[in-house]
Amino acid sequence: MNYFELFSLPAVFSVDKTQLSQTYRDLQKQYHPDKFAMQDDSTRLKAMQKSTEINDAFQTLKDSCLRAQYLLKLSGLDIELEQRTLQDTGFLMQQMEWREKIADFTADDEDEIEDFNKEISALVKGLETEIEAALEAKQLEQTATFVRKLKFMLKLQVEIELLEEKLFD
């Protein structure tokens, strides 16, 4: 049973977040270890494994990047542990400029940081839309390229978050 089947969801990129969370809570309740405390070892073990699987599935399905990667894997293209490098010079130059920008921000740049954050979030949304379309069209390699780019964008978002914590908390 794959993660989508486990959550009774169609195996597509766009997921209903509310339904996902609700199903997660229902499944966790259903397989909670406390409910199996009086059962034999093998039943308890199975319930625990199920509970772990439910957790893994939820972590994968709620994250757009992991979800796309998982859908690729179901279609036979596994990029999860790949070690290849990306050599798209234009894209990487832009990444480099953005990282420099983040490094140069100071506590006086609160508004600029906010604007930058919005700009990056919009680009992340754009990439997610492209991923959805490429997956629907079954263009696996194209999807993989977008997913790889998404990882750099998500890293940028983490960097912005860390910067904000450092400057304003």
Binding site: I79, R84, T85, L86, Q87, L92, Q95, K151
Partner: protein, 126 residues
Amino acid sequence: MAYSEKVIDHYENPRNVGSFDKDDKSVATGMVGAPACGDVMKLQLKIDANGIIEDAKFKTYGCGSAIASSSLVTEWVKGKSLEDAAKISNTDISAELALPPVKIHCSILAEDAIKAAIEDYKSKNA
């Protein structure tokens, strides 16, 4: 995870950080990124009239291992011909820095940066 002493040394005292003018014909620029961790690396080589790498600079946004790998590579390539520089492999880099398996992609990134720079130089001077 513990970093080796060599990684810490390069991380705390990175060699040859900076940039050359990428439009200069004697400058080779290699831009590479690792999707696994979102690290970005720029390696630039300054090549003399005899095809020898006279200087190298890098700029890396990434973890300690990625910074150490690129810093080490700038030291190694100096004085080498492009042909010899292309022979530097990720296994040389990861062995020198004692990188753990989960950080091997950092040394692959540095190796690919050299190769990308050489490609850039060839296409510029073709």
